[in-house]
């Protein structure tokens, strides 16, 4: 059964056959849409970090703060709804810190021979049927 998909080329295919191992990578660094439904905010953080020449000079834009606010308010609403409670700001920060760490520490595997760096191919890849089994 073939069940994992990741950007792969001939070199990586040969590497898999030689080493008998597969690689998993961070969803954060791969293609956005297939990896999950909440990635946008994390991608923004990663972009900020990559473009920063000096960490001390990083300042959040109003746009990103608005998106984070929407993100955590929605999250806390659901938490309070499921557990019938009201988290304090300190508890909320702790909860969301764990959430962020989990995301950054996770690796996923997806394999395809398609050249997903090409926007047109990526678009077709996402919309056309792919049956691997």
């Amino acid at each position: 059964m073939k069940y994992i998909y990741k950007l792969i080329d001939d070199k990586e295919k040969a590497d898999i056959e030689k080493t008998k191992s597969i690689s998993l990578s961070r969803p954060l660094l791969e293609f956005g849409l297939p990896e999950g439904l909440i990635i946008d905010f994390f991608r923004d953080i990663y972009s900020e970090l990559k473009s920063a020449k000096n960490l001390d000079l990083i300042n959040p834009s109003k746009e990103i703060l608005d998106r984070i606010t929407e993100w955590y308010e929605t999250y806390l609403d659901t938490f309070n709804e499921v557990y019938n409670t009201q988290l304090s700001e300190y508890e909320a920060l702790t909860e969301l810190k764990i959430f962020i760490c989990i995301y950054f520490q996770t690796y996923c595997g997806y394999f395809t021979y398609e050249s997903l760096n090409d926007e047109q191919i990526l678009s077709e890849y996402l919309e056309q049927p792919r049956f691997y089994s």
Binding site: M1, K2, Y3, I4, Y5, K13, T19, K20, S21, I22, S23, L24, S25, R26, L29, L33, P34, G36, L37, I38, F42, I45, E48, L49, L55, P60, I64, L65, I68, T69, E70, Y72, T74, Y75, D77, T78, F79, E81, V82, Y83, L93, L96, K97, I100, C101, I102, F104, Q105, T106, Y107, C108, Y110, F111, T112, Y113, L126, P129, R130, F131, Y132
Partner: protein
């Protein structure tokens, strides 16, 4: 675990304990069939699912309905630390600012986590396919 720091490669070997890998690296590995949610699924529905299950796989095993013909499955590997006998669910905040809002605190904390992850974790991890009965495509 084999490491090749020059190429940022880490190979993991399965241990009998589902959460432990060779040389006592604490991690967890799951295989999930992707579940395709309605295209209109909002963040709220996803957060509700997460808060009911408290499973971090939630962030990676759902996708949009219009992609359901892909019938994907995924391997999800959570690696709290690649150091021996070590596991953590948080890291230090690099910034010692006074924050004006929770959003600002989360922004700076996220930058700290991202930097910590990029500096201290491999970009790729490798799993031995014979250990996991994985068949490469092609």
């Amino acid at each position: 675990m084999e490491t090749d720091e020059k190429n940022d490669r880490f190979v993991f070997y399965q241990n009998n304990n589902a959460k432990l890998f060779d040389k006592n690296i604490v991690a967890s590995l799951h295989k999930h069939n992707i579940e395709y949610l309605d295209n209109s699924t909002a963040l709220k529905e996803l957060f509700l699912i997460y808060n009911k299950t408290r499973s971090s796989a939630t962030w990676f095993k759902y996708s949009k309905k219009y992609l359901d013909q892909q019938k994907d499955s995924r391997i999800i590997f959570h690696l709290p630390s690649y150091k021996i006998n070590s596991s953590r669910v948080a890291c230090d905040n690099l910034f010692s600012k006074c924050y004006n809002s929770l959003a600002e605190a989360l922004f700076y904390y996220s930058i700290s986590v991202a930097k910590d992850s990029l500096d201290n974790f491999p970009q790729y991890v490798f799993l031995r396919i014979s250990d996991y009965k994985i068949t490469p495509i092609g």
